[in-house]
Amino acid sequence: MSLRTPLARARGLGSAKEGVSHWWAQRLTSLALIPLVLWFVFSVALMTGADHAQFIAWVQSPIVAGLLILLISVGLLHSQQGMQVVIEDYVHGEASKVVTLFLSLSIHVVLGLTGVLSILMILFRG
């Protein structure tokens, strides 16, 4: 017999009061990345040999720029979620764990901003 109340079971939060949300968010980003990654790898393979002007012209289509921004933001979010789990699993000292998690998050934010701003620069300035 479970000692948990039906409400606690329905919320499914466990003793840490979180975790399900992280797990669920990770499934959502993976689902979104399936079409995005397939589109990206085949587009880049088809772009082989293109010079700068051709590449810029490709990115400047609003659909391509939008999909690239989505790929970068969702991809790096998924990467952040995954690296967080890996760090939590293997970095044991509390201080080094917190520092590594913060470093990983910071690097992901910087990479995401650089990527998205590059796309916007290409889109609006060429």
Partner: protein, 130 residues
């Protein structure tokens, strides 16, 4: 905190490698590898935004044998993580967890990974030449 003489769970090395465990370990390693590889992707996009000269420099590095090797490894890791990720999503839905099905889907992941990766590179070489 003293860990004393507490019993330890057996180390990973004592287990005979199996398709299921090897793919699971590779799934995580490849995920981390793709994360590091994304730095190159962002560098490439930033180079394109900064102008033709720097973009050509980055392109010539990526086109060198080392760059191609790196990109091939990144493609392989990405396609494997994608295929095995779909397998995991299927498991998360509570399906395909029987031992035989898990082995069959594992083999399918390996075959698809090789086929898609090679397909992408054949496409790239056919279009862009060497």
């Amino acid at each position: 905190m003293s860990r004393g003489n507490r019993p330890l769970s057996p180390h990973l090395q004592v287990y005979r490698p199996q398709l299921t465990s090897v793919l699971s370990i590779l799934f995580r390693i490849m995920g981390v590898a793709i994360s590091f590889g994304s730095i190159v992707l962002i560098w490439w996009l930033a180079a394109a935004a900064s102008g033709p000269e720097y973009f050509e420099l980055v392109q010539s590095f990526l086109g060198s044998w080392f760059g191609r090797l790196m990109l091939f490894g990144w493609t392989l890791a990405l396609v494997f993580h994608l295929c095995n990720g779909i397998r995991h999503l299927y498991w998360d839905a509570g399906k395909g967890l029987e031992l035989e099905t898990a082995y069959a889907s594992g083999k399918a992941v390996m075959i698809l990974t090789v086929l898609i990766t090679l397909g992408l590179w054949v496409l790239a070489y056919a279009l862009g030449g060497a």
